[in-house]
């Protein structure tokens, strides 16, 4: 990529990314509307414009492959929107592939992926073939309209095409002259568009330049519609809008304007044609200046001035922000909460001293105020980081479409909870694992059409993608109605590969068997994927979700289907934690995973198969002694009644045995240095505000360890 500033580069990536996402959404909409009546020309034009803009961007930033791709796609889309080629399934497939390739190119340009992109040339040839097969311009049907050449001269080629198409379809043309307040033009125009859409198509908007004022503008809107003038008048007319039907001219009339095939020869220097000046009686009366118009809302000088101020604003009210800037802000909030905690401690000690009581109370009030404001600031920043999962789901919908076509299976994707919001970073990181799970579902779980019919299932398979919030977690389910997992085959494959001893087999319960799909040695073998109907690379999926502080659960029933449940924290940036002590060392347990803390009752303890357990309200709770796990040397005083901090992820619970409960605190998790990074069981480290550093326990990893044991890394082995 050409040399350019980092900021410009970032801007390029974020804009390109945004456009590609929009492009993907529009294509999906186009796909689902195909075969259900005429294609929405506006949608096709939006898609064209998206690619057009990408081409411009790619050119500016020297992204050659993106330029080449955009160029070919643009040709195809231009032909599509100008009606030169049909929107066939093949054309649509190519467009979808184009979106995927855009994504790959961007990743390569960004340097986040190495991809030779060797298949692009072939793809570009396919695109070129499609746009070359086009037919020539269809002959004009010969409808004659009395249109102002000034208006015709400013139509773009596309608008000209839309005008021609509408005339060919027997629509009548209408001219709306509407005056808009500049301050409110966006809202007013979008209302007008919404009202007009069911009745026809707006071809263009032309500012008339007449009666131009600082705060309002008159537009000539050219619209094609099958509706009658009366209908349109009652629908769109009003005090600020005059609607006239553009009269058809008899072909015998002198100097007819053949719309629009001869447009190219008409410049603005030509004599005005009848509609504009020769028929003044048919032209709508020109509205007077806004302030003088009877019936217009009375407007004071100050509101006029305000309107002029407002008009300086840009159309969009959003800003794009680099996520790293938000991270920085979050870090500052984190530092501030450390200060807050220190002030809190100071306040407490001041309050305890009798002679400083007054000051202590004042300090306490101030501290509480500060605490509230800081909490607001923190939740404000967190909110900015949140994006709806729908962004990701749109992308997945495209994947489902593509893979199901490749696999020649009919799959229906059902999405619920697309509005559920999650931290932007989490959404980014979720993309690959979810895509992987969906690919597995289509490739291995959903049966072939014939097989489905044989077992009495609907021929079209269903994959459900459900998202919802559950307390401070977000749950995403990926569910299919495929063949489910064959447990016996899974078990025998595990035994064959030496991952499981034959004698252990009988001890496995249903859930443990299913969890075998997450074991690395087993699940990366694609033949097992084929056998089990699931599980290619599921270990990687699990690791990636674990990195986000999440956990993945599986439920499967043979012949019925499989459901993966991913439970994730809503944000990674800052968390509330329970601070605990074990052998004089301080640890933080993320509060999101903490259910409760209880006194450990020695009488309730027992040992089952080497695993320490206790009975809690009738249920069995496995225990994990932190001092043993991390081999902490004893500092002398033995705690007679330690606590168990009950952590849970999904349906699983574990009691972490600790000496002291210190309190609750907001913490910013910092990554561990390289020496501790490979040790499972820690989510990171944090600073507590009194120069103490605490390790943050990784509850999901500890639970994982306790339930499944073994694994490839030894939890905590090198900590002492």
């Amino acid at each position: 990529m050409a040399d350019m500033g980092d900021k410009a580069r970032e801007e390029f990536f974020s804009e390109a990314h945004e456009i590609i996402e929009g492009l993907s959404r529009d294509l999906l909409q186009l796909d689902s509307s195909r075969g259900k009546g005429p294609v929405d020309p506006e949608l096709v034009n939006n898609i064209f414009r998206a690619v057009h803009t990408l081409k411009g961007l790619a050119g500016l930033f020297g992204a050659a492959r993106m330029s080449a791709l955009s160029h070919e796609l643009e040709n195809v889309l231009d032909d599509l929107r100008l009606g030169k080629i049909e929107l066939s399934q093949a054309a649509l497939d190519l467009l979808f592939r184009g979106v995927t390739i855009y994504g790959r190119i961007l990743a390569v340009e960004k340097g986040t992926r190495s991809d030779p992109l060797s298949d692009i040339d072939e793809f570009l040839r396919e695109l070129a073939d499609l746009s070359e097969s086009q037919s020539d311009d269809a002959p004009i049907s010969g409808a004659f309209y009395e249109l102002d050449p000034g208006l015709l001269a400013v139509l773009t080629e596309y608008e000209e095409h839309r005008l021609r198409t509408n005339i060919e379809q027997g629509q009548s043309l209408f001219r709306l002259r509407v005056r808009f307040e500049l301050a409110t033009i966006d809202a007013a125009l979008s209302t007008l568009k919404t009202k007009a859409k069911p009745h026809g198509e707006i071809i263009t908007y032309l500012p008339t330049g007449e009666g131009a004022e600082a705060d309002s503008i008159e537009l000539d809107i050219l619209m094609a519609s099958k509706a009658s003038l009366d209908v349109l008048r009652s629908l769109l007319g009003g005090e600020q809008a005059q609607i006239e039907e553009v009269p058809r001219r008899s072909p015998s009339a002198k100097d007819p304007v053949l719309v629009p095939s001869r447009l190219g020869s008409h410049g603005p220097s030509h004599d005005p044609l009848p509609y504009a000046s020769a028929h003044p009686a048919s032209a709508p009366p020109r509205p007077k200046a806004v302030a003088q118009r009877p019936g217009a809302l009375p407007k004071t000088a100050s509101t006029a001035a305000m309107a002029a101020e407002v008009s300086l604003r840009s159309v969009t009210q959003t800003v794009r922000v680099d996520i790293r800037k938000l991270d920085l802000l979050m870090n500052i909030v984190g530092e501030l909460s450390i200060v807050r905690n220190a002030i809190g401690r100071l306040t407490e000690s001041v309050r305890k001293s009798p002679e400083l009581r007054e000051i202590g109370m004042e300090l306490y009030r101030l501290h509480r105020g500060f605490e509230r404001q800081l909490a607001d600031l923190q939740s404000g920043i967190l909110e900015v980081r949140m994006v709806p999962l729908g962004q990701l789901f749109d992308k997945l919908a495209r994947v489902v479409r593509q893979i199901s076509r490749e696999a020649d299976k009919d799959v229906n994707l059902v999405i619920t909870g697309a509005e559920t919001e999650v931290d932007k970073l989490i959404v980014e990181e979720l993309s690959d694992p979810l895509m992987h799970m969906i690919r597995n579902a289509i490739d291995h779980a959903i049966e072939a059409r014939i097989e489905r019919e044989r077992v009495g299932k609907p021929a079209v398979g269903t994959i459900a993608l459900n998202a919802f919030q559950k307390a401070s977690h977000v749950v995403i389910e990926v569910e299919d109605d495929g063949k489910g997992i064959d447990e016996s085959k899974l078990v025998s494959a595990a035994v064959k590969r030496g991952l499981l001893a034959q004698e252990e087999v009988t001890e496995l319960v249903h859930r443990e068997v299913l969890n075998l799909v997450f074991i690395p040695g087993l699940s990366t073998k694609s033949d097992v994927g084929e056998l089990s109907g699931r599980g290619v690379g599921m270990d990687v999926v699990k690791t990636n979700i674990g990195k986000l502080g999440g956990i993945i659960d599986i439920y499967s029933e043979r012949g019925i289907g499989t459901k993966f449940t991913v439970t994730l924290p809503i944000t990674l940036a800052i968390i509330s934690a329970l601070i605990v002590q074990v052998e004089g060392r301080t640890f933080a347990v993320p509060l999101a995973s903490v259910q409760e803390a209880i006194w450990l009752d020695p009488a309730a303890l027992r040992r089952v198969e080497g695993q320490e357990m206790m009975t809690l309200r009738g249920a069995t709770l496995p225990l994990c002694r932190i001092n043993e796990l991390f081999a902490l040397s004893s500092v002398g005083k033995t705690k007679t009644r330690p606590y168990a901090v009950v952590v849970s992820v999904g349906a699983r619970r574990l009691g972490l045995v600790v000496d002291e409960l210190i309190g609750q605190q907001d913490i910013v998790i910092k990554p561990l240095g390289p020496s501790l990074k490979r040790v499972k069981g820690f989510a990171g480290a944090t600073e507590l505000g009194d120069q103490r550093v605490a390790l943050v326990l990784d509850a999901p990893a500890l639970i994982e360890e306790a339930f499944l044991g073994g694994g490839d890394a030894v939890v905590g082995a090198s900590y002492g």
Binding site: G5, A8, E11, F61, L155, E157, G209, A214, T316
Partner: protein, 130 residues
């Protein structure tokens, strides 16, 4: 200071134009105002006059051609210099823009040096708009 209105719906392209013209050479620095759409331009025009308007052609609703015609028809902006930017593929649109009274066109992808020299050529010997 010479004022330039850049009408373009792509933020990255606007930034690009801004950085290409930032220094402005002998005539600079310029006061560059950005409009994100044809409507936005209509809103910003009354705050002019501008010495130069640089506009994209392909924009939704009010396209660049309509903007060119509007500017040329208006008493206030008649003498404003006008550059249209368009991709190679839309030759027809470009020809129309020139016949409507645009002073010059530049093809996308834009070349920063060509852009600056075109701007300088159009603005030299042109009295400042005010």
């Amino acid at each position: 200071m010479r004022r330039i209105l850049v009408v373009e719906d792509s933020a990255a392209t606007r930034s690009f134009v801004r950085s290409a013209l930032e220094d402005g050479g002998d005539l600079g620095p310029f006061d560059i105002v950005e409009a994100t759409s044809g409507f936005d331009a209509l809103r910003l025009l009354p705050r002019g006059p501008y010495d130069l308007v640089i506009t994209d052609i392909n924009m939704p609703d009010i396209n660049g051609l309509e903007l060119v015609q509007f500017i040329r028809k208006s008493d206030r902006h008649r003498s404003t210099a006008l550059i249209i930017i368009s991709t190679q593929s839309s030759e027809k649109d470009r020809a129309r823009g020139l016949s409507l009274g645009a002073d010059d066109y530049l093809a996308k992808p834009l070349d920063p040096e060509a852009l600056l020299s075109t701007v300088q050529r159009l603005l030299t010997n042109r009295p400042a708009a005010g």
